[in-house]
């Protein structure tokens, strides 16, 4: 990608900073919205700015997959379900602390600490490694890795997903037949 040779580290840093702030803001807004549709939309904003961060790391394929799969397909399904079962009328109900919420908050804090510990233990090493090598995330690289070195785990994962789908259909239809 010699076309992007002019992007100085300063510019990259600025793009990263803006995208990261928008992602954080979107995530906070997503958690605090009462209306589930608004929450889902802020999640899309967060996903989209995550894709921009992937782009600054030269991971083009992951960036587009993030937009197509997460911001596109999965969030569209979530919005579809929210609209279909009309939970947007329930946002008037007052929020109260419940058991699942406390457990969820606990797990979230642990996850955050884990990620923070991992990032801090790496120090400043990864930043240079990812920006230094170009084309690490191009489609050809990802394809070669997925269908070459990691073919077996990749196929196992796809079979697992297929079993999940079939299982969901079986569970959903059990009462009907």
């Amino acid at each position: 990608m010699s076309d992007f040779g002019f992007i100085t580290p300063l510019f990259q840093w600025a793009v990263f900073l803006i995208a990261a702030l928008i992602a954080l803001f979107g995530a906070i807004m997503m958690v605090t919205r009462r209306n589930p549709i608004h929450g889902a939309l802020w999640l899309i904003v967060a996903f989209f700015s995550l894709a921009v961060i992937y782009l600054t790391l030269n991971a083009q394929f992951i960036a587009v997959a993030q937009v197509v799969v997460y911001a596109g397909a999965i969030m569209m399904l979530i919005i579809f379900v929210i609209m279909l079962i009309h939970v947007e009328t329930e946002f008037l109900v007052k929020r109260k602390l419940s058991g699942p919420k406390i457990i969820g908050a606990f797990i979230t804090v642990i996850l955050f600490l884990e990620v923070a510990a991992a990032v801090l233990s790496l120090g400043g090493r990864t930043a240079g490694a990812t920006t230094g090598t170009a084309l690490t995330g191009s489609v050809a690289e990802v394809g070669n890795a997925l269908y070459g070195k990691y073919l077996f785990p990749f196929e196992i994962a796809s079979i697992l997903l297929l079993i999940g789908i079939v299982g969901a259909v079986v569970l959903a239809r059990r009462g009907k037949d």
Partner: protein, 334 residues
């Protein structure tokens, strides 16, 4: 440093030219559609404003700018305003990777006739196509109107189904060309157009493309006879016009993508020797496809909703899957 400056200027000029040409094309596409539909229905179509009605798009523009802009009291106001903008933004963004010509030499620089010749061109188009759906889905939902919500639901379900099929259908050409870069795909067709190798895929693409842009016979989200216009029922004045422009821009993108993937893009007789002929060939091919889109609208009746979903998942999807497998096998054994 000067290279960077020239690169920025070049990108800016190309962006402005492409958006201007695309919007002009979209404006006159509305007139062409009304005129051709009129002829198909044995009437004249608009012919009062200007010679042959040629100023009709301008009159329409002035009308939609000056009409009263109504936001329903029941509407979710920020989303109601945002939805048409998302739709048009996504539709126009897709033009960024469509190559409309080869490389030309201007002012001593080799200029590629595409705004962004990126490695993931085709995926980029799909990414913005999925984002464009949010414009329609949110537009219907935020109106606070039951017909609007029904239109949104239909749009969401239909577009997800057909987007999957559309992506799989394009796999055939990706395998043949060995690249996702749209200029590479066009150059791989320098000996023979891909439509010759994959006529069935081309037909499948046209069907899935029509469903993707909600066009008759797949215009479920706005079926006027049952949903009273569906997702855009509460929209008036310029917001409605934005939806309208987005729909037509999306139609041009689908036609341009079909040209790029199957009809050899800008390639044609003498396209490499005569400068300017490449974009002309591209334009002609897009016009032929767009004419087909208008023609079939005047021909086919609307399908029923369950028929559309069944067709998408039980006919189009398996055919696309089989096409991918067969193409990959043939390419691997060649």
């Amino acid at each position: 440093m000067m290279d960077t400056l020239f690169f920025l200027i070049e990108a800016l000029v190309k962006t402005i030219v492409v958006i201007a040409v695309a919007m002009g094309f979209v404006a006159y596409l509305t007139l062409a559609e009304r005129k051709i539909l009129g002829r198909l229905q044995v009437r004249f179509g608009p012919n009062r404003v200007g010679p042959y009605g040629l100023l009709q798009p301008i009159a329409d523009g002035i009308k939609s700018f000056t009409k009263e802009d109504i936001i329903p009291a029941n509407a979710d106001k920020p989303l109601f305003v945002l939805a048409p903008m998302i739709a048009l933004f996504a539709a126009l963004s897709m033009f960024a990777v469509i190559p409309f010509g080869g490389t030309v030499h201007l002012f001593g620089r080799a200029v590629k006739l595409v705004i962004g010749d990126i490695d993931i061109g085709l995926l980029y188009v799909f990414a913005f196509a999925t984002l464009g759906e949010y414009g329609i889905v949110l537009g219907g939902w935020s109106s606070g109107n039951k017909y609007g919500v029904l239109g949104s639901l239909r749009a969401a379900a239909q577009m997800i189904s057909y987007e999957v099929a559309l992506g799989l259908i394009c796999m055939g050409t990706i395998v043949l060309a060995g690249s996702l870069r749209l200029t590479d795909i066009v150059e791989a067709q320098s000996h023979m157009w891909f439509v010759v190798y994959q006529p069935l895929t081309f037909l499948l693409y046209l069907v899935a493309g029509l469903a993707e842009i909600n066009r008759t016979p797949f215009d479920m989200p706005e079926a006027e006879s049952e949903l009273a216009c569906g997702f855009n029922i509460e929209y008036s004045s310029m917001k409605f016009a934005l939806f309208f422009m987005a729909e037509y821009a999306h139609m041009v993108v689908i036609a341009a993508l079909a040209t790029t993937l199957f009809l050899g893009g800008w390639l044609g007789p003498y396209s490499s020797s005569v400068p300017g002929l490449g974009p002309l060939w591209f334009f002609i091919k897009v016009c032929v496809l767009v004419f087909f889109f208008i023609w079939e609208r005047g021909t086919f009746p609307r399908l029923r909703y369950d028929q559309i979903m069944q067709f998408g998942w039980k006919v189009l999807f398996p055919l696309a899957l089989a096409n991918t497998v067969v193409t990959a096998l043939v390419v691997a054994l060649r």
